[in-house]
Each structure stands twice: as C-alpha cells, then as structure tokens.
Amino acid sequence: MAKFDINRDQTPLVEMRDICISFGGVHAVDHVSVDLYPGEVVGLLGHNGAGKSTLIKILSGAYQGDSGEILINGQKVEINNPRDARAHKIETIYQTLALADNLDAASNLFLGRELVTSFGLVDDDAMESECRKIMGRLNPNFKKFAEPVSALSGGQRQSVAIARAVYFDARILIMDEPTAALGPHETQMVSELIQQLKAEGIGIFLISHDIHDVMELCDRASVMKNGKLVGTVDVDDVTDDDLLGMIILGKQPGSSGAE
C-alpha cells in the first residue's frame, strides 16, 4: 500500500509524555509516551487490559491522568473533560460507538454541539440538512434520517460515528476498534476513509486487536503490555511475528531479551 510521506522533523501533532494513571493501586498506564504526526496513523496494540484504551481516554478527556503532560502542536494543554478535547480538535470514535440509540442520526451527529435558531431553540431541520450533506459524502446509500439509530445496521451506525468526527474538522482522530463490529465490506469502507483523512493531514490513533489491520493501515505501531509501553516501531521494518512477540512476550524486535 502506498504510504504518504510523513515528515517527522516537524512538531508532532500530539505528544503524550510520561503519562501515568492508576485505579485503586493498579497502574493502568505506567510512564507511557507516544506521539503522532500530521497525516500519520499510529496503531496502539496490546492485549485486553494492556492500557491502550485507558491511555487514549486520557487524550479524549474521559479520564484525567495522574501525571505526565500532553502537548498539541508543541503547546502544553490541559484536557479535563471531553469538551476540552473537542476544543483542541480531538475527536474520538469509540468502540461502543457512543451513540444515543433513541435519537436520530442528525441528533447524534450534533450531540453536545447542536445548531440553534436565533431564539436559541435547536434547529432540527438545519441539522438534518447538514447531516444529509455529510452522509452524502461518506455513505451515499444512507437514507434513514428519520429513524432512531437503533434501527441502523452496524455499518450505518459506524458511518454516523465517523461523520461526527469528520464534520467538526478533527485534526486528531482517535479510533477505538473501528472495525470490530463490522463485516468485510464495511471494514473496507473504514480503511478507505482512513486513507482519505490521512491525505488531509489528519493524525489518527488507531486502537486495534488485529495485527493485520495495523500492518495494513498504520505507519507506526506502539505496543503496550501491563500498562507499560513495550516500544514503538515503524511497521515497514517489522513482521507480523515481531509485533506478536511484542504483544505477547513484551520483547523488542531483534532483541532476545525479556522485559
């Protein structure tokens, strides 16, 4: 697959430095540092409970880290809640999709950022109109604008979640297992979207279980185990087995040493 040129001499889009968080004495994330450049996809790999989702939730504002710092375009920032993250143009597509099932696509797309009329009332017609525009771009077959999203298929729900991230001009996109609930066809749709977003210079953190996904979609991969960072590698320099070794044994490729 063609890779875009990523200039790693410039300031990274995101730098998470020395992040720690613990829950009841368990170090869920233990001195982890990762970074992300414009137009780059960085995969976060690891077992269940390795700490990858927790790390990324600190960036998206769902959790607050105990220590460490976050830099966006080289500037240190405070992210205390999801609103702060959104203000820094960080958008997240959660594994559970984070959609309110009882609301329609437009209401979900604009949830927390509704368009309002001059009287301050929510403008459903304007939101539906905007929703139709962006869905026309992302998923032209999408027609169910009036139904609650519970009536949608997995792929359609995914496109609503993606539309939400794309509509608000994300610079940094976090995708937590974006293809976990999808069929092959829909997975293809997501990978095409990722290529398109990369071309626009958006940086993407992709959390995945699937090594093949990561090998295909990502430029670099950061592997975590037991809350610690095993290492960050360029995917072109490693094999599937190298990555597996990092995930399972926590060993660096090329080295025979243990942790």
Partner: protein
C-alpha cells in the same frame, strides 16, 4: 466510501393515510382507548358521563396530577424515579398555606386580603419546591445515591415536614385570588374562552405553516397539501370543540341568584352564565406547551433524551449529566409546587393528607402515557393523556357505583395491562 451496505428496500412502499398525515400510532391508540372508555361509561351511566358538567369536573380533577406527570416524564426518561412528588406537593402546599394565612398577614403585618399575598405565597412555594427538588437531584447526581432511595426517603421526610409545619391542622380558607387557580372558582367565562380558543387555533395553524415552510427551505419532502389541511381541520375542531363543551356548562341558577344578591342586585329573568375554560386547565395547557418545547426544541431536552438513551454517550459528548440530573429534579420540584397551588386551591384549604398517593398516580400517568422505565422514551402529551385516562377510569367507576376497593383494584390492573400492551406493541413494531 461509495460501496457501503445498500439500502435494500427497492421502492418506497405506498403510504397509508396514517403515514401520510405523519401521525403517531401510539398516540392514536391511546386516544382510541380513551374514547372507548368515555363512550363505555357514558352508555353504562345512561348519558351522565359525557355531560359538559362531568367533562368540566374531569378536566379540573386531572390538572394537578397531569402537571406533575409532565415533569415525571423527564425524570423517568433519564432512568430515574421520583417517589416524593406527593409528599413534596404537601410540603409546598403547607408552606404556601402558612405563608398566606399566618406569616404574611400576622408576622409581616400585611393583613388578610392584601393583594400581594397570593403572589408572594406562590413565589415562596415555587422557591421551596425548586430548592427541595434541586437538593434531591444533587444527592442523585453528585452523591450518586439511587433516585429510588433518595425520593423514598423524601416521601417520608416531606410528607412529615408538611405535617410539622401545620401541626397537622387543616389551614384555610385560602386567599380568594389564590383559590382562582383551583378550577371552578376561577374560569374565563364564555367570551374569554372563545377568544382564547381562536387564538390557540391561529397559533396552531401558524405552527403548522411555519414547520412546512422550514422543511421546504431545507429541501425536504413535505406532506401533500390536503394532508396538512386535514390535520389543520382536526386541530381546529378539537380546540373549538373543547371550548364549546366547557362553555356549555352553565353556572347553576341558584348560585347566580346568590351572586346577584350578594351585590344587592336582582338577577334578570333568563340570565345565564357559562363557566368556560378554568384557569387551572389553562395553566396545564401552558405548562404542556412549555414542557413540549423544552423536550423537543431545546438543548436541555435533547440532552435529557440522549442521557436516557445512552448515559455514557451523553457523557462522552461533553454533556454534564450530573448537573443535568439536578436540573431535572429541580424542575420536578417546581412542578410539584405548581400542582400544590392547584390542588390546595381546588380544596380551598390545605389539608394534611393533600397529595397522598399522588406519586403513584403521577408515575402511572407517565407510564400509561408511553414513558419507558428503561429510559430514553416518553412524551409530554402522552403523560397528560395518561393522567386523563386514569382520572376518567376512577370517576367513571365512581359514577357507575363501583365500590372503592374495586376501583383501586381495577386502576392497578389497568396500569400493568397498559405496560404489557406497550411492550407487545414495541415488539411488533420492532422498537427495542
């Protein structure tokens, strides 16, 4: 992204009349059940149920529970419950009764009958209700105590705070202006009711037209014009019919004679006067409109439904769900205070047992009206219709002469049955 899952339905199926009019099937079902109930009671009682007088009484008896039911919709939609509404009503009623009969006239020295007394009392009652509601909401939202427990405790606490404030005595008579909010003591009369009815028709037609214009502006497909016409016709007929019925209920001749005598006049021969729309019903309609706008057209309402549908999603979308909980319970408290005005004004005094068991009637009204206890679903008009169905059932049975214990047994059974029908309906239509 061009080849995602295709929409498999080949062509739009031919729409039936309900779809063309874009009517809510569940609402139609409830209206149908209500109509069957009313006609049934009317037949059994030999035409005594659907008289202007009984319809007038039914509406004013429904108001207090219906007002609270609109707030209960928001509480239940966000997956909470409020068991304290009847007790909170009692506390608000006690506070307002004491304010207008003891505190303002005696302590502040305004004297009984001062024109400000009813308004200050209502303001105090609203403040107390809102604060108590907000306090309970804070315990639910920030201290994360389950709403069931907070409000179960509240049921005991506020019922007995009301008792303590009044030493268990009946406080009255309440201020004459205050009593106008009760129902029969404050109505608009025939002319006023007609004017209001016409204004309401104008408002409804403007709303329909405006919504159509907006949809056209954004290039959406709209209903055919004849469908809009039918809808406008139904709405106009319903509003004016309601006004006509309430206007047909005339003040009894004896009462009119006494009113004239009190003024030192003689009643002219053949003089009649209609009650028209009660102020309490007007209040309910106003609250219903405000609550519907709140639910459908404000961010607060959108967040309430989003939180009910998926609390995590709401939180991740940047909605402060804790503060939202405080707001919802504060609103519920304010509505309890308004209900307290109506309920105590209707009785012309505050009695110690006011609002007893109202929590159950209010929850039942919301649930019969289609509010799902699992959260995320519910409508204001449904809850009001639910309250009306409950009240009709109760007064209808009383009119037929069903014994009191049997009445309650039937009401309880109907509640469970209504929810069962709702569950079956949702399964059939594929809603979860």
């Amino acid at each position: 992204m061009t080849h995602s899952d295709a929409d498999l339905s080949p062509a739009t199926p031919k729409k039936n009349i309900v779809q063309t009019l874009e009517l809510d099937l569940r609402l139609l079902g409830m209206i149908g059940a209500f109509a069957v109930l009313c006609i049934g009671f009317d037949l059994v009682t030999g035409g005594r149920f659907l008289t202007p007088r009984n319809i007038f009484n039914l509406t004013i008896q429904t108001v207090s529970v219906a007002i609270m039911a609109t707030g209960m919709v928001f509480v239940i939609v966000t997956r909470h419950i409020d068991l304290s509404v009847g007790a909170l009503l009692a506390t608000c009623s006690a506070v307002m009764a004491m304010t207008q009969t003891q505190f303002l006239p005696n302590v502040l020295g305004l004297g009984l009958g001062h024109p400000l007394i009813p308004w200050i009392s209502i303001a105090v009652g609203l403040l107390v209700g809102t604060l108590i509601g907000a306090f309970q909401g804070w315990m639910v939202g920030y201290l994360t105590i389950p709403a069931f427990i907070v409000t179960l405790g509240g049921l005991l606490v506020w019922r007995n705070v009301g008792w303590y404030l009044t030493s268990g005595k009946t406080i009255g008579p309440l201020d004459p202006t205050f009593q106008k909010f009760g129902g029969i003591n404050g109505t608009l009369g025939a002319t006023g009711s007609w004017i209001l009815g016409l204004l309401a028709v104008a408002g409804a037609l403007y709303g329909l037209w405006n919504s159509r214009r907006n949809k056209i502006k954004h290039g959406f497909t709209v209903k055919p014009l004849w469908a809009e016409g039918v809808l406008a016709g139904i709405i106009t007929a319903a509003i004016l019919g309601f006004v006509a019925i309430l206007n047909a209920y005339e003040v009894p001749t004896r009462k009119l004679q006494r009113m004239f005598e009190a003024r030192g006049e003689v009643m002219p021969e053949g003089f009649t006067q209609s009650y028209g729309i009660p102020i309490s019903v007007l209040l309910l309609i106003f609250i219903a409109i405000v609550m519907t706008i709140l639910a459908k057209r404000t961010r607060l309402g959108r967040y309430i439904f989003a939180t009910g549908g998926n609390p995590d999603a709401a939180e991740l979308s940047g909605i402060n769900t804790r503060w939202l909980t405080v707001k919802i319970f504060a609103l519920m408290g304010a509505l309890c205070a308004i209900s307290a005005v109506v309920a105590s004004a209707r009785l012309t005094n505050h009695s110690n047992d006011i609002g007893t068991l109202d929590e159950l009637r209010v929850i039942a009204a919301a649930v019969i009206g289609g509010t799902a206890l699992a959260g995320g679903l519910g409508t204001i008009h449904g809850a009001i219709l639910g309250a009306l169905i409950m009240q009709s059932l109760q007064s209808g049975m009383a009119m037929v002469g069903v014994d009191a214990p049997l009445q309650n047994i039937v009401v309880g059974a109907v509640l469970v049955l209504a929810v069962l029908i709702d569950i079956i309906y949702r399964k059939k239509t594929g809603e979860s």
